[in-house]
Every structure is written in C-alpha cells, then in structure tokens.
Subunit: 288 residues, 2 copies
C-alpha cells in the first residue's frame, strides 16, 4: 500500500494491481443509477427533442433525471428547457441548473456568455470538456442520466464509449433511407463497444395536416420497426413531426408538451431501463 | 536558391522567404475556379440535399462541377447521386467517380466496402483525409467545387477553413429558432476566417398538403430572410420539405428532381459566384 491508499475510496478492496483514479468531490456527492446515451449518427432527426421528451417522460413517471448535453458544438438542451441560469461553480464542483420540473441539466451553452457563441475546438479539447462534465459536475442522486450525443462517429461518441460508464443506448432514426444508412453506421460503431440497446425510436415518421387530417409521410415510408428488427434492438415506437413540439421547444417549454404517442414510448423505455437497475458508485470513475 | 527550387512551380516568382509546398501530380492536373463550402452548423437541415441540388443547378446552367463530401463520418452525397463506383486510384492520384450528368464526386463512402460501415476516427485522422481529398484527387478542370460540410464547429470546419482555399460559403438553415441558434454559431465561427458569404438558403420552410394544398409551417415561422439580413448575407430563398426530393434522393436520382423554387435559388447563386471568377492554379496549394 502506498501513501495515497490512505485516502482512497477503494482502499482494502482493490486488487492492488491498478490504482483506480481518486473520486472527485463532485463524484463523491453523486449517485447515478443508469447512464443512457441517446444517439443517431445522423444530425437533425430530432435527437435532442427526443432526449428532452424522454427526460420529461421519465420525470413524469417519478424518476430523478439529469441530461448531459454532449453535443458540445451544437448544444440544444438548455434552450428547449428554457434554462438560462449559468452553471454555478462551487468548491465541490459545478452545480447543474434545474428545469422547472426538476431535471438537472449540464451543457456547454450554460457556460458561454451568449447562447450563439461558437466553440471552435478540435477533438482533444472537446473530449476533455466531456470528461469534466462527468467528473466535476455535482449530479447528486439520479435514477437516470441521459447523454445527448452529437451526430457522427467521431471524437465525442468515441470519448463517451471509451471513457464514460454508459449502460446502454437509445437510437433515434427517421424514415429517409439516407438517414437510415448513417444511423446504421452509428449502430455498428456502438456495437464495437458492446453496450446494451434499450430501444430504437423512429422520429419524423409523418405529419398530420391540421386542415384535412391527411397523414403525410414527408420523409418516405417509415422503416424503424424493420430497422430495429434488423439491428436486434427493441422497437419503442414512431413519432410525428409535430409543429406544437417545435413551438414549445423554441419557447423553452418542452415540459408542457403532451403527446400520447410519446407517453407510450416513455413507458416502454422505462420498462427496458428498469431491468437490472443498479446504484453503483464505482461507476463514477472514468474508465480511462 | 536551393536545389529543390529547380523543380518548383513557383521558382523565380517567390519571395524566397517561405517555400510553398510542391504541387502533387493530382493538383498539377486540376484547375478549380471557386471552392464553395456549404455549411449549416446544425445537422439535418438538409444541407447535403441542398449541396446536391446546387451542384445539379450549376451543372444545368452549363458549369463544370465537383462535390467534395467533407462529412467524413456521415457522408450522404454518393447515395443521393446513385454513385456506387469506388474511387479509382491511379499513379497520378484518385479519380473521382462521375454522376450521370457529369458531376465529379469524392466521398469517403466511395472508399468503404459497405456504405454503412462506420469510420470511428478522431479529428486528426479526419483532417488528414480531408487534406488528401484536396491534394490527391484528380479533379481536372472545374468551375466550382462544392464542399459539403458536416454539422458542428469542430475539427472538419476548422481544417477546411485553415487548410483549404475556400472562396466563400453558402449557409443552410431551417425555421426552428433552435436550428437558427446553432446556425448562428457556425456563421460566427466562419466570420473569424473572413470568407465571402455567397448566400443563405432557408430549407424545410413549409410542407404543402398533397390533399388540400394547405401550406404548413411544420418547424415554425420562416425567418431565413431576417437571419440573412441580420448576418449581412445575401438571401437566396426558401425551400419546402418535398417528399418527391426525399424519394428521388433515396433512389439515387436527385438529378431528376425538378423544382422552380430551386431553379431560382440556383440562378441567384450562380450570379453571386460569377462575380470575380478566377482560375487560379496557385490555390491548389494547401494553406498549411
């Protein structure tokens, strides 16, 4: 035992072969049940809206929920929740602002002076920020922490899968074959890291004409169910393009959105998530 | 003069202070009028579709056009043009496949075994690939090379602005305020590199019900014209979500798409591009 073992949380229980990193103060003050990454590979399929609505749905079902906005260069989460408070930095770490229904939110946009300031950073700096969102944010006790991933299969998803203890994934797709091709890239990438897939949601499946109630499949014929079967992922359901959601999101009021289709998807996801819930403090260590 | 000056294309004309990089064989065989980056910052606003249609429109107007698909981890261009031939590597460089109307296309997807194989690469490797798409592809003579940028303000846009001789930008946005916020990040980022802005296009401005012809603003009230004025960028026009475009894109037949709205935008862009056209071989050097 070295001197540093005296203050280590794993003292006496570790194998002594490799020294786990010390827990930060923020991590000691946090307990997170499951870490769920929401990914699509393709941009603009409504992943951030779906992430927001999943958080709202889980919150309505009584769970304690946080969102880590991992889309560092294109963050949307604070805006759709109307969260304008800056993140508060205290000696123990960064305190995430809370939405009106009590969802804890951390996003780089909560640390910028103006919400439309760009962050012109290459991958290594973005990876470092992501790690800090994990190690230095005082999440407190959460049942579920949702990670809103950016598009692509580059630095951010690689860092998330390699460094953060992701329990599983929700995949968001849209009907266009083009989107499906790119989403399949993301699924194939994720499978290399062997996470659990909690489900696939097909967003933007159709639009309903408010005038004549015609159902229009504006991006082509929905194929989420077939894609889910093909990729062996539970199919959670389809969602329309709903102008009401766009309006509420722009107004920062996504928590007021009501949608029976989404309620059903939220219930199905909660069922998947409930399987093997663990409150595992050791997960708070970074893998790297 | 050093020995290497004997074979240098800039011999006798350079200041002698800094040695420009040697042109590659591929660059010696290429002459590109203008390099135009299509960017949005936000994913899924239809940037690749707009890039494809701009290329089609310029081709229909008689120009020689190429597309460099800079969305390395989420490439869409080959699919919408139905280009399935792999890129051909010869001693002089990489020969880009040509679409049915004669548009030259280079994309990482033309070098993968399966179109849905992911590339799980961090930024430095992606930057290297982008540079090679510039230095090692035999573009031949082109009036315009369009670069289809990925979402975000990270490695790819940084590399493009720092290393490639971009003449100017076309910005693609969509009505949602959320999208606008992220697009403004990209505009602010681009302005740091002082390029020319050829114009702003608002995509997905509305959907027309095929049953009752109701115009639905499914993502909110269009605000592209106001955003263009605010950012001091020429406004090129708005486009609807058109299921016919999605269907043709999925079938690899984007060149068959007919749209009066797009024709008008293509004509306006061509006007902007025609100002100060230069065929400048020295631009073929990387800036870095």
């Amino acid at each position: 035992m070295s001197d540093s073992c005296n203050t280590c949380s794993a003292a006496g229980t570790c194998s002594g072969e490799s020294c786990p990193p010390e827990l930060t103060e923020a991590q000691k003050a946090s307990r997170i049940g499951k870490v769920v990454a929401i990914m699509s590979g393709k941009g603009g399929v409504g992943k951030s809206s779906v992430t927001g609505m999943l958080a709202v749905s889980l919150r309505r079902q009584g769970y304690k929920v946080g969102i880590l906005d991992a889309d560092i260069t294109g963050p949307s989460i604070p805006k759709i929740f109307g969260v304008k408070d800056k993140a508060n930095v205290v000696p123990a770490g960064v305190i995430p602002p809370t939405s009106s229904s009590g969802i804890k939110i951390m996003s780089l946009n909560l640390m910028l002076e103006n919400e439309d300031d760009p962050v012109i950073w290459r991958g290594p700096i973005i990876a470092q920020i992501l790690n800090q969102f994990w190690t230095d944010v005082v999440w407190g006790e959460l049942d579920y922490l949702l990670l809103d991933l950016p598009p692509g299969t580059g630095d951010v998803p690689i860092t998330i899968f390699q460094s953060l203890p992701v329990d599983g994934l929700v995949v968001v797709t849209s009907p266009q074959q083009l989107a499906n091709m790119v989403v399949r890239k993301a699924i194939k990438m994720a499978k290399k890291y062997d996470p659990r897939f909690y489900g696939l949601i097909e967003n933007m499946a159709y639009v309903e004409c408010p005038h004549c109630q015609e159902r229009m499949e504006i991006f082509g014929k929905p194929q989420g169910q077939a894609e889910a079967a093909r990729s062996e992922i539970p199919y959670l359901g389809e969602l329309p393009v709903d102008p009401a959601l766009a309006t509420l999101s722009d107004a920062g009021k996504i928590e007021e959105y009501q949608s029976p289709a989404f309620d059903e998807i939220g219930r199905r996801l909660a069922e998947e998530l409930k399987k093997n819930v663990t409150l595992n403090p050791s997960k708070l260590n970074l893998k790297m």
